[in-house]
Symmetry: C2
Subunit: 199 residues, 2 copies
C-alpha cells in the first residue's frame, strides 16, 4: 500500500474513528478536503472545537442546549406532567421531529449494557428519582430502541418506577425489532407514539 | 424539525459539505463527536488544519508529498523513462497500490471539462511538455477514468504528444465504462495495467 504523507494519514485515521466511515471513505473525504482553501479548513476545525465549548447540557432534562434550562424545559405550553425517557439526545430529536409529543424529556445518557461497563450508576437514574419525588408526574413514556439493551433498560426502569404508582408507557411495538429509533421515519414513529401502551 | 443549538448545526453543515455525507449521516457523526473529549476534538481539528500547512507538492510529478522531490521521483530504482499521467493524487495512489507499475508519474490536476471551467490552461500540460523536451521518455501511460471527461483528456493528450513520437498507452478497457478509477479493485486495475494498449 502507498504511504500517504503523515498529516494526511493522520486525518484519514481521524475520519476512520467516526461511525460508519471506513478507510476508503476516509481517504475520499481527505482528498476532497485537500482541495479546499485554508480558510474553509479552519472553519471546519473551529466548528469542531466549538461544540464542546459552547454546547451545554440542560440541568433539568440533560438534553444538549445553548441555554439552561433548555427551550423545551422552559416552555410553559408543554405538559410538564409527562416525562419521556430517552437514551440519547438524538433520540429526543427524533421524537421532537414527529411533532406528536407535547410533554418534557429526561435524557438517560445511554442504555444499560453491563458487558460494556454501562451499569446503572453510569446513567441518570438518581436524578430521575429526585425529579419524580419533587414534581407531580402523571405519565412516564419510555422511548428506547426495541433491541436487547433498550428492552433491558425499560425493564429496569419499570421496576425502579413501580413504587411511584405512575402510569408507565412504552412506544407501540409498531417498530420492527432491531430497528434504530434515530432512523425511523416520522410516520411510523408518530403512530408508535399515538399507540403507546401501558407497561 | 427540531432546531439544534447553533454550534451543533454548524458542524452538521460542515460535514454535509463533504462528498457522500447527507444531513442524517452528518447528524450521526456530530452526535458521536459530542461524546468525545475536548482533547480528541482538538486532535481532529489540528489534523484538519495540518493538511494544508505541512503537505507540499512534488515539483516534478505534482503529487502530494512531505518532501520535494517526492519519494517516487527521487527513487533511483524506478524507471524514469515511463511517465504515467493521472488526474489526481488519489488516482496515483490507486495505481501504486497495485504494485504493478514501476515508472514515474505526472499529476495533471484534473480532467478537461470546459463546461465547469476546466480548460487546458488550468491543467499541468505545459509542465508536461517541458518535461518531455528535457528528458528522454520512452512511454507515456494515460491512466484516467473511462468516462466522458477522462476520454476527452486522453484524446487531447494524444494529440498534444503526437509530435514527440513517444509510445502512448492507455489502461486496458477491462474497466467498465463509467467506473471510478479510485474504487477499482486491485486485481482489475492490475490486469488493466498489464494489458495497456498503444493509442
Amino acid at each position: 500500500m502507498i504511504k500517504f504523507p503523515k498529516p494526511i494519514q493522520e486525518l484519514i485515521d481521524q475520519f476512520c474513528k467516526l461511525p460508519g466511515i471506513g478507510p476508503k471513505t476516509a481517504e475520499r473525504l481527505v482528498f476532497y478536503l485537500l482541495k479546499q482553501s485554508m480558510e474553509e479548513l479552519n472553519d471546519f476545525a473551529s466548528a469542531l472545537t466549538q461544540i464542546n465549548n459552547s454546547v451545554i447540557k440542560c440541568s433539568i432534562c440533560h438534553n444538549i442546549s445553548e441555554k439552561d434550562p433548555c427551550s423545551i424545559c422552559s416552555d410553559k405550553n408543554r405538559d410538564h406532567h409527562i416525562i419521556c425517557i430517552v437514551a440519547e439526545p438524538h433520540d429526543l430529536a427524533a421524537i421532537e421531529n414527529t411533532g406528536e409529543y407535547k410533554g418534557v424529556y429526561h435524557v438517560l445518557g445511554g442504555v444499560l449494557d453491563p458487558l460494556s461497563g454501562q451499569t446503572p450508576d453510569r446513567l441518570r437514574f438518581n436524578d430521575l428519582l429526585t425529579k419524580l419525588q419533587k414534581n407531580k408526574i402523571s405519565e412516564i413514556m419510555l422511548a428506547f430502541n426495541p433491541d436487547m439493551e433498550g428492552e433491558a433498560t425499560m425493564m429496569y426502569l419499570n421496576n425502579l418506577l413501580k413504587p411511584f404508582k405512575i402510569k408507565i408507557t412504552r412506544l407501540a411495538r409498531g417498530m420492527p425489532v432491531g430497528a434504530d429509533l434515530e432512523y425511523t421515519d416520522e410516520i411510523t414513529l408518530s403512530s408508535a407514539i399515538k399507540n403507546r401502551k401501558e407497561m
